[in-house]
Symmetry: C2
Subunit: 241 residues, 2 copies
């Protein structure tokens, strides 16, 4: 199965959570909007969200085409790919738990995004700076410690040990935790400097994932886009306290 | 199977999307935090989110206990319950589509919630009124028309007709669409008066769902909590333009 990933070509964004899973698994995939030629590019993406061709259109990227299926919503794409890429255990209860954690990652992503877009995703950051300052402060003081503390507790309570979020092997949830820590370090370096002492297991998990050969090769490749101020994780020093 | 729903006892909130599914199906369930006695009440809910008993703790309600499983995240609970309550078709692709739509409902719920809480969910509305006015305006002008338009288009494109969101039978997604329309009418009556002409299929779906005998009986019962200014859908006239 050759998977087609549809996501904006110039940012990591939500697509990165899917890219990391595909890369870790060595999956056969094409990042459609980053390619050119027939059926490729941003136009191919827009055709599926805005065109009349699909009876079941996605609202927004990222989405995945797998044969005849088109699947949108980041956590949902990962729930679909997990078993197919060997990135989640087999037991039903464990798969449910993985998806629940991924949906909580998604909640965190919304909070991170809204630190710079608290009024509207379609407006520029420069047009919502006062609101962003307040939301970012709330994020730094309340939401980030709460959510990082939650994920740290999940690691600490894993009956199979604290090497991975679920059981004793890498899952797509670990890849997403890597991305969260990596992105937060980029966007909020001061905040993370203050918080990392409280989340030693997540910090170790970040390093463990980064050291996986397939992940390390991906991060060193041109396929890994750099963080920038168009994505979810943006470094605006005035929002870092 | 007796299901135990855990949610705040005084609001519809996110729990209502689950309550509607359980009620439509005539499921055997208990709304734990609304009952008193041993193992009941808000204390029982808090014990699972904040206590040390679970290796896989939910971050927040709503969550469902089904035997040994504890499942959190609204859309995830509905994905679990759907097949068990006969509220989603059997085909895999159709179930994926139902979950994708429900996750988009959840995106909408976040936007609705954040009209009155754009800075932080843990702060009072009165402490974020200026930000709320701006976010609500963006919601009224951009986000609500976009999302309602999307769901209207989904109904229009349903190859089996526009009576239901998926296929030709009621699913949990229809129950959630009912709740969205119902809540938006409560919170934003002026906005909806202006928008409903553009979403005739959703308006008809709302009426169709409200007329289902089990739903009608539930809505007329004391189990259906009234909308109020502690939930997701809050009527603050200053946010309705």
């Amino acid at each position: 199965m050759r998977y087609e990933l549809f996501y904006w070509p110039s940012i990591q964004g939500r697509g990165e959570f899917v890219r990391l899973a595909l890369e870790q698994a060595g999956a056969d995939y094409v990042d459609v909007a980053r390619e050119s030629g027939r059926g490729m590019g941003v136009a191919a993406l827009m055709e599926l969200t805005d065109g009349p061709s699909l009876a079941r259109p996605p609202l927004a990227p990222p989405f995945l085409r797998a044969g005849k299926l088109v699947i949108a919503q980041t956590a949902h794409v990962l729930q679909y790919l997990g078993p197919r890429l060997g990135l989640v255990p087999k037991a039903e209860g464990t798969r449910l738990w993985a998806h629940q954690l991924q949906l909580t990652v998604e909640d965190f992503v919304v909070d991170i995004h809204d630190t710079h877009h608290p009024v509207g995703a379609g407006l520029y950051y420069r047009d919502q700076k006062p609101e962003a300052r307040r939301r970012a402060r709330y994020f730094r003081e309340q939401r980030a410690p709460e959510l990082l503390g939650y994920f740290e507790a999940v690691l600490a309570r894993n009956p199979a040990g604290d090497s991975y979020m679920i059981g004793r092997r890498l899952s797509y949830v670990d890849l997403s935790m890597f991305q969260l820590i990596d992105g937060l370090r980029y966007a909020f370096p001061k905040l993370m400097e203050g918080l990392e002492g409280d989340i030693p297991r997540l910090v170790a998990l970040h390093e463990r994932v980064a050291g996986r050969p397939a992940v390390a090769a991906y991060l060193a490749s041109e396929r890994r886009l750099p963080f920038n101020e168009d994505g979810i994780f943006r470094h605006y020093p005035e929002l870092d306290g």
